[in-house]
């Protein structure tokens, strides 16, 4: 069998997947998400004639919140743990490149985060069905967009974890998530700001990921869906942004002394 970029990357990915789905943080957050999503059933039942709407709204928000938490907690520690615990020595002393390690780690964590998100979605769909809302087909589209955002955020977390400690990486990631969801508002504010503030906000606008592109939850709540071309543009945006971050992470890892 010969080496190929994909084969070796998948070996690293498989190992990362196994490690992350066996992590206590993963189980704890998943269990908490499960409880929260089913709890929406109770909240729905006490809201007057809006039960399905409340369940859908809170359920989708819950899936998003817990997926983000799993991503940030596991992602920002991923490379740092490998470097600090020196498990990376085992990998990099074998015929594997830095890029394969970074991409493999990304794919492994992406698979486990996507799996947990789909697990939460299954609980959500069952909850909506039980509450009489039928099969929430559009929620699957919202979750698909969310998974794209999670992919971008995993790449971002891995990028941070090549140089920052997990706590610092988590803070950076949460800041980017917050700002990334507020870029539209910031752009509007910048129109009324002075030249310097306007320039600064413009730099942020073009540098940071515009995460609102992935938020179609409100649209879906009102039974609307984005067009195919808009969906493809978002897929491309996520892929390009994540690729740039993974290239950056690879370069930083290559420059590190062990």
């Amino acid at each position: 069998m010969k080496h190929s970029f994909i084969r070796d990357t998948l070996v690293v990915a498989k190992n990362t997947f196994k490690e992350s789905v066996r992590d206590k943080v993963f189980y704890a957050l998943f269990a908490f998400a499960f409880i929260t999503i089913t709890f929406t059933l109770f909240l729905g039942s006490i809201s007057l004639s809006e039960d399905v709407h409340v369940i859908r709204s809170l359920g989708m928000a819950g899936i998003y919140l817990f997926s983000i938490l799993i991503t940030v907690f596991l992602g920002t520690a991923l490379m740092y743990k490998e470097i600090e615990r020196r498990t990376l020595y085992f990998i990099l002393s074998k015929p594997v490149t830095h890029a394969q390690v970074v991409v493999g780690k990304f794919l492994g964590l992406f698979a486990s985060v996507a799996l947990s998100t789909l697990g939460m979605t299954a609980v959500y769909l069952a909850t909506v069905l039980y509450a009489g809302g039928g099969f929430d087909r559009l929620a699957l589209l919202a979750v698909f967009f969310e998974i794209l955002e999670l992919g971008l955020l995993i790449a971002l977390s891995i990028f941070f974890s090549t140089f920052a400690k997990p706590l610092a990486g988590a803070v950076y990631a949460i800041l980017v998530i917050y700002i990334g969801h507020s870029l539209g508002m910031l752009a509007a504010v910048s129109e009324k700001s002075g030249v310097l503030a306007h320039r600064f906000i413009q730099v942020l606008y073009y540098l940071l990921p515009n995460l609102e592109k992935f938020n179609i939850r409100d649209l879906v709540l009102y039974n609307q869906a984005p067009s195919l071309s808009a969906t493809l543009a978002v897929v491309l945006y996520a892929a390009v942004y994540a690729t740039i971050l993974l290239c950056g992470g690879t370069l930083l890892l290559k420059r590190r002394e062990f």
Binding site: M1, N15, K18, E19, S93, P95, T97
Partner: protein
């Protein structure tokens, strides 16, 4: 053959290894000795491709360790290894084996675990392993590709006398099979038993490289080593 030519390594402006030149013949057991902080581990990390020289050249069979194909024939056991604790011993060995072009398969991995004496624990999570068991697993993963060159960083640390004897016997077996073994060690008594040649590094500079007997001159390795280092400290 391992060749180190005028190797110089600086980290954060500090010289770790200075003008190191060495040749290690294929099939020999080479002990790399020196006090703490001498630069042994840094040299080994360069030899296995983890770090790069600041200047100078390191080659294994004529190729740089930074080339992935060179690393195909290397095995490396880091000092006091940490592991993926959620994996079992067998899963970890399988993972390491699959990173090579020709994974040797389940039977070979199990045979390796049997050889290092942790077969019974193969399906246990590594987190439940004792320090000695982890050391044995670290040794097993260094042999997972049946390497031509084996680099061991303090391989005898953390092992009980029985574990030490077993590991030394495996190192002898590697030599018997024509493998080249390069190891760092503080345990000079064991080094003396195993090595054909030694290299002594102090503060990044090579003090001696050659056959063991040429260095010891009738004394024990430990006596001669301590005397040499102490003499240097006095003259420094």
């Amino acid at each position: 053959m391992i060749e180190i030519d005028s190797l110089h390594k600086q980290i954060d402006g500090r010289t770790i290894v200075s003008n190191l030149s060495l040749s290690i013949q294929k099939g020999s057991v080479f002990g790399f000795l020196g006090p703490n902080g001498a630069g042994k581990t840094t040299t080994m990390k360069i030899l296995v491709g983890l770090n790069h020289p600041s200047s100078g050249r390191v080659t294994i069979d004529g190729h740089a360790p930074s080339e992935t194909l060179t690393r195909e024939k290397l095995g490396f056991m880091p000092e006091a290894p940490y592991f993926y604790e959620h994996l079992t011993g067998l899963e970890f060995l399988r993972f390491c084996g699959e990173l090579f072009a020709r994974p040797r398969g389940e039977a070979a991995y199990e045979a390796l675990l049997r050889k290092v004496g942790i077969f019974e624990a193969k399906d246990q999570r590594i987190t439940t392993y004792s320090k000695g068991m982890k050391q044995r697993l670290g040794f097993a993963q260094a042999l997972v590709n049946d390497p031509e060159y084996v680099f061991l960083d303090e391989p005898l640390d953390g092992l009980d006398p029985i574990g030490r004897r077993a590991l030394k016997s495996m190192i002898r077996e590697l030599k018997h099979d024509g493998r080249t073994v390069f190891f760092n060690s503080h345990i000079l008594f064991d080094t003396e038993e195993l090595c054909d040649e030694i290299g002594i590094l102090n503060r990044g500079s090579l003090l001696f490289a050659g056959p063991l007997g040429e260095f010891t001159r009738g004394l024990s390795l430990e006596e001669q080593f301590v005397a040499t280092i102490e003499q240097l400290e006095v003259t420094a």
